[in-house]
């Protein structure tokens, strides 16, 4: 049995008119670092709130550590650690006061589980008499993580822990998660950043309350159908326009300074034909190179393939 299981969980808001989580089922194995990846509004936070017993699902069952979220909510509350997306510690208490307060809520002390948070806490210890509200963004995240860990939870829920945190702190944060995992804590983390997905052991790609795919990051990339090219030319806007009209291309979307062009699965790898097509449209400075798809490419691919409500919004 998994550390966290969801069976056909469904959740609606506004008297059933807004569907937040649509028939979601998955299992997280004990000791696993599992990522929920998806844009804002995909339903990640709703799932977290259901699993941490803050929200009741409309239908379906879910367990955490073998406890049912509906019946054994009390057992779950004393074993899980939850770090909400929004910083929610007492801003007017100091770092140390926050930590010891949360320790006492779980009837433990800082000293009892110090080894678990030692590495993280040491970084914020110089500021332990400072009020939490006056910490920098990265420091706040570290403190929040310490508070979520202080009672040695078996399962740790981190809802968008790296949103609004700088690149260096983000990297540090993921390194910390990797080390926590080695201590045997099951970690469920959500993030809107696709580049962070590869730091997870397994990920679930989510969109509009549905799970598009669950697998290891490597397998998800491997499952990418057809070839992917990055194309660049001097006039980018008409280029995108022309590529979308190109029959061999499945989809084309702007991606950084390039346009990513996905070919149909059964198409021969013919970048020469594409070059000639673009030259025929009077493009100059054409660069075409085959690339390995990223998680984001796979996500866009799944999203455009998904019927109806999927919008191709994930361009950047």
């Amino acid at each position: 049995m998994g550390a966290v299981t969801l069976q056909n969980i469904r959740k609606t808001y506004e008297k059933g008119t807004v569907l937040a989580v649509d028939d979601v089922s998955f299992t997280v194995e004990p000791g696993e670092l599992f990522g929920l990846i998806g844009p804002d509004g995909a339903g990640k936070t709703s799932i977290f709130r259901i699993l941490t017993t803050l929200l009741l699902a409309d239908s379906g069952t879910a367990t955490v550590d073998g406890h049912d979220v509906r019946k054994d909510y009390r057992a779950i509350r004393s074993t899980v650690g939850y770090m909400p997306g929004k910083f929610s510690l007492y801003q007017d208490l100091t770092v140390e006061e926050n930590l010891s307060f949360f320790a006492t809520l779980f009837e433990t002390t800082i000293a009892a589980n110090y080894d678990l948070i030692k590495e993280i806490y040491e970084q914020i210890e110089p500021f332990k008499t400072r009020r939490a509200g006056q910490l920098s963004g990265g420091m706040k995240q570290k403190l929040a993580l310490c508070c979520a860990l202080i009672h040695k939870p078996t399962v740790l829920f981190l809802d968008e822990p790296t949103t609004g945190v700088d690149a260096v702190s983000r990297k540090e944060f993921w390194d910390m998660l990797g080390r926590l995992k080695q201590q045997g804590i099951t970690i469920l983390v959500s993030t809107p950043y696709m580049d962070e997905a590869t730091r997870c052991e397994r990920i679930a790609l989510m969109q509009s309350g549905k799970i598009l795919s669950i697998d290891t990051p490597a397998n998800i990339i491997k499952a990418y159908p057809g070839k992917l090219y990055a194309v660049k030319a001097d006039a980018m806007h008409p280029l995108l326009h022309h590529l979308r009209a190109y029959p061999a291309a499945r989809s084309s979307y702007a991606f950084g300074e390039f346009v990513h062009v996905a070919f149909w699965d059964d198409q021969a790898d013919d970048d020469e034909a594409l070059r000639q097509y673009l030259a025929g449209k009077k493009h100059t400075g054409i660069v075409i190179k085959p690339i390995t798809p990223s998680i984001e490419d796979r996500f866009i691919d799944l999203m455009t393939a998904a019927p109806a409500n999927a919008h191709a919004t994930a361009t950047r």
């Binding site: 017993t53 509350r77 909400p84 929610s88 510690l89 801003q91 208490l93 307060f101 949360f102 809520l105």
Partner: protein
């Protein structure tokens, strides 16, 4: 119990760290007690009077002099006509117009009777009513004096009523007002602060962290109730001290009974604040809802107006507010020296409010949505 202790420690830390709230809790009551009873006063003085004397006789002059020397009236104008006198009322410079008709003295002497006309600006009902009454009284006195001058001894049989004010011998307004303001203070601290406190945790999101922890509902709610109960009692003590030092109001009744009542009342009011906070999502919402109810509570409580002069339906509404009973009891204990037995009825009411409001709040507070 240990968890409750830590919750309380956290609450007190937060309260004492928020300097502005702390200032409001301690300074505002003092200022209110110092200023309010002195400024707000029901004694009507300095009523502006315009006199229209169409007679210009010695009797009319005597009457005007008597009115002017009474101390209640300020003669602002001697208008040549009633019309002009009324214009002064319209311009807000006069509250009353007294018209003495031509031939006042002649008719009074010859026919033994004469009518006077009195026009009162009734926008401020109390002022108009009292002003009119004072003036009528003075004219009555004048009448008596005139009559005595003419028909020597042989006085007519008359019933003379002498009254004496009990519990507040000089009928001083502050004795009536200060105890009620004490109640007002307790109501503010108890009602608003608790309502805002829990909602603030909702707004910041800290309540989520509390909700995923194993702490129980009653622990959390007690952790919120106790600090504000203590603060309320401290404020009450400050208020009593100010009343004693500044106004010389020393409770005639027993102080323990007063505190017992204040304690129960605070629990009821804290329950009310908690209840609002469980229904509100934002501090603004909580503030407005609490303000709405406390406003009604206070206006209907008999703080400013007498409960007995309300229509029956309004009196029923007034009795449904904990503030009403407390104001009544505070006045009873402080001024009359009522004992526990005298106020046991009201104490029962407050206890019911306390139990109902707190139970409701506790049931409505959910850790899961």
């Amino acid at each position: 119990m240990r968890i409750l202790f830590f919750l309380l420690r956290k609450e007190f830390r937060q309260i004492f760290r928020d300097k502005s709230i702390l200032a409001v809790i301690f300074i505002l009551p003092s200022i209110q007690l110092v200023i309010m009873p002195q400024a707000a006063n029901y004694d009507v003085k300095n009523i502006n009077l315009a006199v229209v004397d169409n007679d210009h006789s010695s009797y009319s002059r005597r009457l005007i002099a008597k009115v002017g020397s009474s101390g209640y009236f300020r003669i602002v104008a001697a208008s040549p006509s009633f019309k002009q006198g009324l214009r002064l009322v319209e311009a807000n410079t006069a509250d009353l117009v007294l018209e003495i008709p031509a031939g006042f003295e002649r008719n009074l002497v010859r026919e033994g009777s004469q009518q006077l006309s009195l026009a009162v600006d009734a926008i401020n009902g109390t002022r108009a009513g009292l002003g009119g009454a004072y003036l009528t009284r003075i004219i009555g006195d004048f009448n008596q004096a005139v009559r005595l001058e003419w028909q020597s001894p042989a006085p007519a049989a008359a019933i003379d009523v002498t009254s004496s004010n009990w519990y507040n011998p000089l009928g001083e307004y502050r004795f009536f007002m200060v105890p009620a303001i004490l109640v007002l203070l307790l109501t503010m601290v108890g009602g608003f602060l608790t309502a805002l406190n829990i909602v603030r945790e909702k707004e910041i999101g800290t309540i989520e962290q509390i909700n995923v922890s194993p702490i129980r509902k009653w622990q959390f709610i007690l952790g919120k109730l106790i600090p504000f109960w203590v603060l309320g009692m401290v404020v009450f003590t400050i208020g009593l001290t100010i009343a004693r030092v500044l106004y010389g109001i020393i409770p005639v009744g027993s102080i323990p009974v007063l505190y017992l009542f204040a304690g129960v009342y605070l629990v009821a009011l804290l329950g009310f604040g908690l209840l609002i906070s469980t229904y509100s999502e934002t501090q603004v919402q909580a503030m407005f809802v609490a303000f709405f109810f406390i406003m009604i509570f206070i206006l209907m409580s008999g703080l400013f107006t007498s409960l007995d002069s309300m229509p029956p339906w309004a009196r029923y509404i007034a009795y449904c507010s904990p503030v009403t009973h407390f104001i009544e009891v505070v006045r009873m204990i402080i001024l009359k020296g009522s004992s526990l037995r005298d106020v046991s009825h009201q104490l029962g009411y407050e206890a019911i409010f306390a139990v109902v409001l707190n139970t409701w709040a506790m049931l409505n507070y959910r850790k899961t949505t």
